[in-house]
Amino acid sequence: MTTVPVGTHRGAAPYRPQARYIPLLATLSLLVLMFTVGSARYENFGSAQVVLDMFVDNSFLLVVAVGMTFVILTGGIDLSVGSVVAFSTVLSASLIEKHGWNPGLVIALVLLIGMTLGLAMGVMIHVFDVQPFIATLAGLFLARGLCYVVSVESISITDGFYTKMATTRIPLGGGLSVTPSVLVAVVVIAVAAYVLHLTPFGRSVYAVGGNEQSAFLMGLRVGRARIGVYVISGFCSALGGVLLSFYTLSGYSLNAVGMELDAIAAVVIGGTLLIGGSGYVLGTVLGVLVLGMIQTLIAFDGTLSSWWTRMFVGTVLFVFILLQRTLSGRRG
């Protein structure tokens, strides 16, 4: 599970990546290819700021997809993320604008709610043996329904802290800049990578995804891992919602419809096996960037309609699932 660079020990042998890195490398190559094609075809495409803007425009998706990576690593799935994102934006907008709550308190509350919902789904899945698909489907309905209970109309946020988060650009030198949300996303990615690779919890997540029975017999805390990943995913979704409300400065019940699919697509394109047990947070980041690159390419092209995005995402998804299928061989 450690990320020791391979192929460095024997200088003479040609570099042959381990099988588990192949999806990751494929995603990386695709990303480079798309960027090269974009730079060649469109003016102003080949700049570092375009790449940074992909982080800016997708910071919430990054966070949500990281949470999804945990769930998928255990072989589960979380369909509720999009709804939880939407609920977080609506609830925070409503509490801040209509009830005059303190932003810090609101964010804490929203994160807590996300984790509680995740916990409830995790308990349903692990203790009561309900399929992840259907338990999180209930979560999807619940969170989306709660959105409409809070507010059906879009609420715009004028709070000072939120507008500051939306407009602040952190300079990186050379005229490049990012938003604070990107920093939050980077911290989440770093913490997630640490937890997955360097803590006992992370190891049991991989073990449960690899083979739950063996993990249990080895004495690992299977329940803690299986429920924990849904709590993490709930937390990440709620945080994604907070970032989205920074980005759009509003809370709207129809936000993030279908985001669960984008998140799952990003995880799959990032090379995480859907049967669990194998994958990296870094891959998910690359997966999100592929989705962001598709959007950016279509935006730069200008002649393609936005629905082409869905078809391109579908095609890329298909190719990567096929790749996974070939690589995982008999395991699938």
């Binding site: 259907i134 619940l142 329904g145 709660l146 959105c147 697509a265 049967i275 579908g314 699938g332």
Partner: protein, 349 residues
């Protein structure tokens, strides 16, 4: 005798439908009255039946897919594609009322829907991809395809023959109900009067064992996904015809979730094996009755999702052997041998 009735898997869903319907009497005393206007039947009950027809259709397809231990997430997109195709063809007709032209359009739409189903079948049976992921591809890309067909517009049609499917009447009943009833009857007849139903259950129970027993399980999987595509296509025609237009974005949105819910309420386990077409119909009717009741009470359309969440949770927990063991009456009354109570290797979802 009463024990058998109580223990029947459809006892609770049916009871709930009846209770829900009765509760409507408080708000609309005329709920159960059925009027005859111009030889057609009108009334809330008829409305519920008519509105549930697309869900019944999608649910029937979903039932057989789930019976093979699969799932079809793409039905909502197929609904949109089929409606878009039919409306596009009709809008190109010189005379939108020509029966031949409308039938051709319908046929084209259904062929496209069947092709979508076969694509899913190819991914699942041909390439061996997990059903949930295989059909996710079409769920993502399918709305794009529907938008491509309609060129991002909402296509409006004025065609009397086409409007018949969703809003017409035959023998005093809405055509949509009759259509759903016919498909249900034909599917039941084919699946239960031939070995096909049993074979599907065998494949869902254990694909490898059924293959060793001489069943061509791959062919069966292709077949069920194609069937699901076609039923979703018919549902798409009903929905498009009901509003005389095709909306690539919103037609059939969330219907895959409702359909799965209907199947689960109907007693078919998501773990495959035994399936109950009649149960799915009851499940679909239950969902529509719940929606209609909530709307009559004055709950907003969107908030009905909240109640659906509660229903999904309740149904899942009641079906969960672990939950029954913990909270059920221990030893006194053993739950019937439902498919869910058989411990099985977990299906990675």
């Amino acid at each position: 005798m009463t024990a058998t009735v109580l223990r029947h898997r459809l006892f609770w869903p049916v009871t709930l439908i009846i209770l829900l319907a009765l509760s409507n009497l408080f708000f609309t005393p005329s709920f159960f009255s059925i009027e005859v206007k111009q030889g057609h039947l009108y009334g809330s009950i008829i409305d519920i039946l008519r509105l549930s027809a697309p869900l019944v259709m999608v649910g029937l397809g979903m039932t057989v897919v789930i019976a093979t231990r699969g799932i079809d997430l793409s039905v909502g997109s197929v609904v949109a594609i089929s409606g878009a195709m039919a409306c596009l063809q009709i809008s190109h007709l010189g005379n939108q009322n020509s029966l031949g032209g409308v039938l051709t359009a319908i046929a084209l739409a259904l062929v496209l829907a069947a092709a979508a189903g076969l694509w899913n079948g190819f991914l699942v049976a041909g390439l061996g991809i997990q059903p949930i992921i295989a059909t996710l591809i079409l769920l993502v890309a399918g709305r794009g395809i529907a938008q491509l067909i309609t060129d991002g517009q909402i296509i409006t049609v004025r065609s009397d023959p086409f409007a018949e499917i969703g809003g017409g009447f035959r023998f005093g009943l809405p055509v949509a109900i009759l259509l759903a009833a016919v498909v249900f009857a034909v599917a039941t007849l084919i699946l239960r009067r031939s070995a096909l139903g049993l074979i599907i259950e065998a494949v869902g129970g254990n694909a490898e064992a059924s293959r060793l027993a001489g069943i061509r399980s791959r062919r069966i999987v292709w077949l069920v996904y194609a069937f699901s595509g076609i039923t979703a296509g018919i549902a798409g025609l009903m929905i498009a015809s009901n509003v005389n237009s095709a909306d690539g974005n919103n037609a059939g949105l969330w219907i895959e979730l409702d359909a799965i819910l209907a199947v689960v309420i109907g007693g078919t386990s998501l773990r495959g094996g035994r399936f109950y077409l009649g149960g799915t119909v009851v499940g679909a009717l239950f969902i529509q009755t719940l929606t209609t009741t909530l709307l009559t009470v004055g709950v907003r359309q969107e908030t009905t999702l909240l109640y659906k969440a509660l229903v999904v949770t309740a149904v899942c927990l009641l079906q969960s052997p672990a939950f029954r063991a913990r909270f059920g009456r221990r030893g006194s009354r053993r739950p019937g041998p439902t498919p869910t109570s058989v411990p099985r290797e977990k299906v990675p979802a």
